[in-house]
Symmetry: C2
Subunit: 185 residues, 2 copies
């Protein structure tokens, strides 16, 4: 049935409004999305491939977006140490500066104006909805490192954690970033 489901209408409208915040400073929505992702992804996840999974796009499209960001001096590429096919992406200082003028801050401010209870309920609902969509569609959750089943808390001492999947040490700061390999604990 096509029962209206007001929440769906609200989602659609919000998608539109949030999407249209991405036309500032001569940049495009997809470029902002990529920039924001790179600011929040851990070092294993700052690659064109992980970005492709995050954006749910095709790799050709993402490749072009990354090239545009590179030309604009907002992102730099380097080689992955162990795999010469793989590319590492890093924000440049200019890229980080650009994020300070991100118009999506308007959404963050609107979130901050909600009552704490409402905001918490919204976050909970969004998380549940996203999980449901990912379960149906086969995407990746891109959850926080510290909430991952491969996360070895304090494995190397207090505040010095471990990714058991990749066998790599993790700083405390890194454990708060998102990861392409994350699976809920």
């Amino acid at each position: 049935m096509t029962e209206p489901h007001r929440a769906l209408e609200l989602m659609e409208r919000l998608v539109r409004l949030v999407g249209q915040t991405g036309h500032a400073h001569g940049m495009k929505p997809a470029q902002w999305d990529a920039l924001r992702y790179l600011a929040r992804a851990n070092r294993f996840s700052r690659t064109p491939g992980a970005l492709t999974a995050y954006l749910a796009a095709t790799k050709g499209t993402v490749s072009q977006t990354v090239i545009a960001l590179e030309r604009a001096g907002l992102v730099e590429k380097s080689q992955h140490p162990g795999d010469r096919r793989s590319v590492r992406l890093e924000l440049t200082p200019a890229g980080r500066a650009m994020l300070k003028d991100d118009r999506i801050e308007a959404v963050r401010r609107a979130l901050a104006r909600l009552t704490p209870a409402r905001a918490a309920a919204l976050e909970d609902g969004l998380q549940a909805l996203l999980s449901g969509l990912i379960a149906e569609g086969g995407g990746r959750p891109f959850g926080l490192c510290r909430a991952c089943r491969h996360f070895g808390k304090d494995a190397h001492g207090p505040g010095r954690h471990l990714c058991r999947l990749l066998g790599e040490p993790l700083t405390h700061a890194e454990s708060d970033q998102i990861c392409v390999e994350q699976e809920a604990a």
Copy 2:
């Protein structure tokens, strides 16, 4: 400050995933958005201008999207009775049929899988967030007709309502549609 606000990350990701549902049947996301809007908007709101406000785009862009839908036989234009500048948009039977295959139904299904309490809290949070964004950005809410301050319930008898702003009668079905002129009661 730039405290991460997990809800914002979830929103961004959801925006992406929901947006990418719009590539089915040779159509584009903006075309689905327009089609869905026309299915839910009341007769005063089925115009290129109202669609422009809803999509938060520019009228040039929307004009082209509408032309594409018209060429595809999904939408028909007619003249507004009283104002010869204005264009009325109507879904054709083919347009309504197309909506039955809307891939955003995946989102509706994911919503339906939430517990009722969670779904209600999500709807409440989304509504509050959207209101906040609109208050800051100056958009229109596009709320339901029956929740409008111009809504005259049963003004012409039981189930025969009135829009006091436009002086037009409203059927019961119409009072459940969204309106470009809506202002919360």
